[in-house]
Symmetry: D3
Subunit: 136 residues, 6 copies
C-alpha cells in the first residue's frame, strides 16, 4: 500500500454563525470569526489517496487525474467564493474547518476510481489552524 497526496489552494470568504443561537452567544463562541460582514482565507487542501501502485504505470492513481478530480469536485466550486452563500453543498453548514473537511470527504470519496481509497482530507485555514478527517 502506497499513499499519494495532492495539495491544492483556494481563496474564499466565510462567517462563523449559528442562526439558532443569539447574537451574543455567537460572538462569544466565534469571536472575530463571527464578524457580520465576513472575512476570508487562502485555504490549503491536502487530499491523500492510498492503493497498490499499478506495476505497468508505477502509479497508485494518476496525479494529473487526481488533480482534475479535486478541481472539478472542490476547487471550481469554492475558489473565489463566499462559503456561506455561493456553495450549494455547504448550505446550512457552519463553515468551520471541521465541517468543511467532512463535506469535502463526501464529495471526494464518491468521485474516486474503485482501485484506490480516500485516506485523509486536510484543510489548512491559515499557517496555524488545520483540520483533517479520515472518514470515521
Amino acid at each position: 500500500m502506497v499513499y499519494i497526496t495532492r495539495k491544492a489552494e483556494f481563496c474564499a470568504s466565510h462567517r462563523l454563525h449559528n442562526p439558532k443561537l443569539s447574537d451574543d452567544r455567537n460572538r462569544a463562541l466565534y469571536g472575530p470569526c463571527n464578524n457580520p460582514n465576513g472575512h476570508g482565507h487562502n485555504y490549503t487542501l491536502e487530499v491523500t489517496v492510498r492503493g497498490i501502485p499499478d506495476p505497468q504505470t508505477g502509479m497508485v492513481m494518476n496525479l494529473q487525474e487526481l488533480n482534475r478530480l479535486i478541481n472539478r469536485e472542490i476547487i471550481d466550486r469554492v475558489d473565489h467564493k463566499n462559503l456561506n452563500i455561493d456553495v450549494d453543498f455547504l448550505w446550512g453548514v457552519i463553515p468551520t474547518a471541521e465541517n468543511i473537511v467532512m463535506c469535502f470527504w463526501q464529495l471526494l470519496e464518491k468521485a474516486l476510481p474503485p482501485f484506490c481509497a480516500l485516506h485523509e482530507v486536510r484543510l489548512w485555514e491559515n499557517e496555524h489552524n488545520m483540520a483533517f478527517y479520515r472518514g470515521s
Copy 2:
C-alpha cells in the same frame, strides 16, 4: 543606514468592483475577484523601515514597538474584516493590493517616530500575488 522588516498576517474578505462601471465591465475586468458575495485571503504584510542603529541599543527601531505600531495602525483594523465594508480608511477605495498598500503607507508613515523612515510596504494576497510601494 540599516533596514529592518517586520512581517505580520491578517485574514480578510474583499470584492473587486468599481460601482462607476457596468456589471459586465466589472466581470471582464476582475473575473472571479468580482464575485458579488466576495472571497478572501490570508494577507501577509511586510513593513520595512530604515535608519541608523542607535549605538546604545543597536536598534534602528525597537522591533516590538514596530510590531505594536503595525498592529494598532493596520492589523487591528483589517484582521477578520471585510475590506469593502468594515475598514474606514478603505471606504471608496477598490481594495486591490496596489490600492491597499498605498493606504497602508499613509497610515504607517504618519505613525513612525522621527528617527527612522518608512522604506517599503509589501502586501502578499497569496503565495503568487504581491504589491509593494516605496512612497513615490
Copy 3:
C-alpha cells in the same frame, strides 16, 4: 472523529549535555549541540486534538481556546527562555526534541477538556529535525 491541529512558535536556547557522562562522551554524543554556552532554535509546535464536532458549533474544540491553552501551558513558559535553566518542568531533563515533546504531552493532556483527546504533539527544531509523540 475529526482532528484539529494548532501550530505555535517559540524561540529558546538549549544545550544537550548529560552530567552523568564525561565531557568527552558528551562531545562525541551531541557534537555541536554540546557547546558549553548553548545555542538556540525557533521551535515550531503542532498540537493535534481529536473529537466529534459539536453539532451546535461545528467545532471539535474552539481553536481560540486551544490556542490559549497552548500558550498558557507551553509557550508562555518556554518562549525566549533557556530550556536548561528557566523552565521548571524541564529541570533534570536533557532537552532533546524527543524529551521535550513527551513533557509537552503531559502538560497538554491534563489541560484539555474532557470532550476531546490529545492525538499528537509535534516539535520541529528547525527545517530538518522533528520529533512527535502520540502518548504511548
Copy 4:
C-alpha cells in the same frame, strides 16, 4: 514510543516512460512527464524512525547519525543525478514518486540500527505532489 523525522533535499531529473508500452500510450499516461529529454525536481525526502528514547541520551536515534545514514544510502546517490540513468538501485524502475519511495524504504530499512524501526518515508516532488510508504 517516540517518532523522529529528518528532512533532506536533492535535485534530480527524470522521465516517466514504460518501454513496454507504445509512445502514444506513454504520452497519454504520463503527459508532460513523458517528455523525451526529461525534466527535473527539487525533491524533499522525509524519513521517520520510531523507537524508545535512550534514557542516557534522550534520543531515539542520534539525528546526526540518521542524517549521515540518509546521505550515504540515498542523497549521495541521487543528488544532481538523472534518476533513469545514473542510479543503480532504480534501473528498470519507472521513477514515479510511488516507486522511488518504495526503493528508498528498502535501502533505509536495511541500514537502520536494530534499536529503532523505520516508520515512514515521504517524498515531495514539488509543492503539490507527494507519496509516502509505511512498509506494507
Copy 5:
C-alpha cells in the same frame, strides 16, 4: 509608482557545460551540475512590474493578464522541459540561473503593455540559490 509581483513555478532539467572547454575544466567549474545525464529543479520565477495604478481599476496591470503573459512567454515553453535541448530561446546558452534570467527578461520586456515597465526578474533554482536581473 507601485510595483506588482507575480510568482510562477516550473520544473525542468538542465546540465551546466561549456562545449568550448575540456571535460576536466567543465567538471572543475560546475562540479555535480556538470553531470552528463543532467539533473533538475523546481524553479520559482518572480516577475516584478512597475507603473501607476489606473484610477478606474486600481491596478498597475491586471494580475490575471500578467499571469497569462508569463505562462505564454515563459512557463509553457520551459515547464517539464530539458533546458539544454527543448527550449529554442536557450539554444547555445549555458543554463545558469544568471543566463536564464537575462533571457527571460528579453522575452518579458517585449511582451509587456506600454503603460507599465519590467522592474525585476528573479529565479530561484532551489531554496538556497537565486539570481535576479533589473535590465542593466
Copy 6:
C-alpha cells in the same frame, strides 16, 4: 549587471543586554530578549553579490564558491554558538539583527573576489523579524 543570492541557515543563542545601562533599563528596552539565561533562533542569512556574468561560465560568481566563502567566514563561526560569548568578531557588540548584519558585511566584503561586489546582506531572526544592510 546580474545579482545572485545564496541563502544559508545557522542556529545560535543570544541575549540582548547593554552592560552600560541598568538592569531595569535593559529590561524595558529589550523585553523578553533580555532574559539573563538567553534564548535562541534559527537564523536565515541571505547574501547577495552583483557582477557581470563571465561569458565563458555564465556565472557572476561560482555559487559553490560563494557557499564555501559564506561557510568559512560566517556559518562555521556562528552555527551552534552563543553569539554573546563564542564569536570573536561579535565581542562587545550587542547582537541585535542590525549589528550582526553589519559585522557580517565587513567579513564578507573583504573575502569576495575582485570581479564581483557585495550588494546586500539579509538576516532573518525568525519568520517575522529581519534586518538588511547595503554597506552605507
